[in-house]
């Protein structure tokens, strides 16, 4: 899955030289990335590499100490929170609410960024919410209590809410977390069919390989490689960044590439010499 749809159109998202510190501890160093229109871009990296922190800087939940985040040409920190939410929709992992909400209520929240305090929902809003529910295949759940849904259904409902925001950019934080394998594949296929520019943190490298147009590899807060996943996720890079041995094989029936993992012979993975780094930047 190559075909990064960048062409001549300006990218939807430009992250340039972004550094973020949390409580005085630097987490992300001079990270840069782009997402083109219709492109699905993954951020991969081991635990604690700064993936979610970088993502939060993109959706304006964290102010970077340095650098610039542009969505649709505008610096997100020159926009109000509401203006930013009109462009960028987010599906985050978050503990559920103690309060009972209907699925229809959850999806209706997606219209909030487009509404003033006294605006009522119009037929147009209702139509957008109904379409969003239909696009993620959960129309039948509209009348259910959100907290009675399964994990896969919940993710679809949250995706429907994000679509109801009519975003220019969709940001997902490990969208397949807690889902069984069938729902993982369904959800990622669904996101691809939406055609919205998508930036997603991916935990599972095989899923990133199969579903992302491009990936950025984050290691200790720095982007150490980027490009089409088949080119980036080499055994050398995976060994260096994730500390495991990997090998790629292609399913002869489907033609799809898969990654298999095993432990490196030497457990002190940090000092393994890597013959081939990624094609991307090395931290300087």
């Amino acid at each position: 899955m190559t075909g990064a749809a960048q062409g001549s159109a300006p990218p939807r998202v430009v992250v340039d030289g972004v550094s973020v510190a949390l409580g005085g501890t630097p987490i992300v160093f001079e990270a840069g990335l782009t997402v083109g229109a219709g492109e699905m871009v993954g951020i991969v990296g081991p635990n604690g590499s700064g993936k979610s922190t970088l993502l939060r800087a993109v959706y304006r939940a964290l102010r970077p100490g340095a650098g610039l985040v542009r969505v649709d040409g505008s610096d997100v920190w020159e926009l109000s929170a509401r203006q930013s939410a009109q462009r960028t929709a987010v599906v985050v992992q978050e503990s559920g609410s103690d309060f009972v909400l209907k699925v229809a209520d959850v999806v209706a929240m997606g219209r909030n960024p487009h509404k003033g305090p006294l605006d009522r929902d119009t037929e147009e809003d209702r139509r957008i919410c109904a379409q969003s529910l239909a696009r993620t295949g959960v129309s039948a759940l509209a009348g259910r209590d959100y907290d009675t849904l399964s994990g896969g259904e919940k993710q679809r409902v949250l995706l429907a809410r994000a679509l109801a925001q009519q975003p220019r950019l969709l940001v997902l934080d490990e969208p397949t977390n807690h889902l069984d394998i069938r729902f993982q594949l369904e959800l990622l296929n669904l996101v691809r069919t939406l055609g919205v520019a998508t930036l997603t943190v991916m935990h599972d490298l095989t899923l990133a390989l199969g579903h992302c147009d491009r990936v950025y590899v984050l290691h200790r807060g720095r982007v150490v490689a980027d490009g089409p996943p088949a080119e980036v996720l080499t055994p050398g890079l995976v060994a260096e960044v994730f500390g495991v041995r990997s090998h790629r094989w292609v399913d002869p029936d489907t033609g799809q590439a898969h990654l298999g993992f095993s432990r490196l012979p030497d457990p002190t993975a940090d000092v393994v010499t890597t013959a081939a780094g990624g094609p991307g930047r090395e931290p300087g």
Binding site: R56, Y59, V92, L101, N112, P117, S139, A142, N189
Partner: protein, 364 residues
């Protein structure tokens, strides 16, 4: 769920906006009627029962003495108009305010146990009031009871906020901790005052501490009512951001809410409203906790429906509770918190269990 992820035809079970709106208006009209009826009952019933007809007559007469005839019985008219109606109206306003503030604070701190007195407001107000009742108003710069209670409420809230904030941001966790610990401090202080007070004063203080609308006159209604109603109307306009907050802080940010500033704005507004209420009625327990949950069970958590429903329900509820407080052990008048607890808590527990049973049944 359908196994495929392809676009499905738009199959929309939700009724159109206009029909839903009509349903909501019908519910609100029904609740509004319940408030009016409860106020009418509150104005009519008591040790001396005034016929409902006389109550209506005296109200109409005061609305327009040209259009409506003078009430037939001047004693009935005086009892209903002078003594009971202002009290019932103030009860409705306080009940509505407590319920609305309870709804908002539960959402703002994302904790279903939050109530209007979460931020130490009632203990601060009680301390101010006890100072006046026990030591005398000279001790608090000549302030009257209500003013001292209001001042105490605001000082307590300010202290809680200062303790809970860090670099201008407050988190629900720190707010709750600061509120609870300051409440203990103020309780200790007024406990100390009460111990040293003359026993005759203590009874008056206790009645106030447990909440009371006794001896409300028309002159007590105006300013608090305007303040509380203005606060409620403002909170009604904040339904969308409150909804955004229900999904969590990060979700609220992604829905375009400046969470830190919104939270502080809500704290300021609710503190002022609660300060006014506690100054006129003392701390009335349970209403601000129970009514929000009751209404959530009935109409769901969407604040655009929940807030008006809770305000009207709280109004009717408190008027009826005050009626019970006056009549159950007449001529002895019970403090409101005792009545709200005795009536409210068993009902709430029953509702809670109904709900759980329904849930389990659906899963089974």
């Amino acid at each position: 769920m359908a196994p495929d992820t392809d676009l499905q035809p738009v199959d929309d079970p939700a009724p159109p906006v206009r029909r839903r709106l009509a349903g909501q208006v019908a519910v609100l009209l029904g609740l509004g009627a319940a408030v009016v009826v409860s106020i009418a009952l509150g104005a009519s019933l008591g040790p001396v029962s005034v016929p409902l007809r006389d109550t209506v007559q005296v109200v109409l007469y005061h609305i327009s003495s040209e259009w409506f005839a003078k009430p037939a019985d001047p004693v009935f008219a005086q009892i209903a108009w002078e003594f009971r109606l202002p009290r019932a109206l103030l009860g409705a306003v306080v009940g509505a305010g407590l319920a609305a503030v309870g709804v908002v604070l539960q959402a703002v701190v994302r904790n279903p146990l939050a109530d209007p007195y979460l931020l130490g407001v009632s203990s601060g107000a009680s301390f101010g009031a006890v100072l006046v009742l026990v030591v005398g108003s000279a001790s608090v710069a000549g302030l009257g009871l209500s003013s001292a209670a209001f001042a105490g409420a605001l000082i307590a809230t300010l202290l809680v906020y200062l303790l809970a904030q860090r670099a201008g941001r407050v988190t629900p966790f720190r707010l709750i901790l600061a509120g609870v610990s300051l409440a203990y401090l103020f309780q200790a202080l007024y406990g100390l005052l009460l111990l040293r007070a003359n026993p005759h004063d203590v009874q008056g203080v206790l009645i106030w501490l447990f909440g009371s609308l006794g001896s409300t006159e028309w002159s007590d209604v105006g300013i608090p009512a305007v303040g509380v109603i203005a606060g409620i109307l403002y909170l009604l306009t904040q339904a969308r951001p409150l909804n955004s907050l229900l999904g969590g802080e990060e979700t609220a940010v992604s829905l375009g809410l400046d969470v830190a500033r919104f939270r502080i704005r809500m704290l300021v507004v609710t503190s002022l409203v609660v300060g006014v209420m506690v100054a006129v009625s003392g701390a009335v327990a349970f209403v601000g906790l129970i009514i929000p949950h009751l209404c959530r069970m009935l109409v769901g958590s969407d604040h655009r429906r929940l807030l008006p429903v809770a305000a009207l329900t709280g109004a009717a509820f408190l008027v009826l509770m005050d009626l019970a407080a006056r009549t159950v052990l007449a001529p002895t008048e019970l403090p409101l918190s005792i009545v709200t607890a005795v009536f409210g808590v068993p009902f709430f527990i029953w509702l809670l269990r109904q709900r759980e049973v329904g849930r389990e049944a659906r899963f089974g």
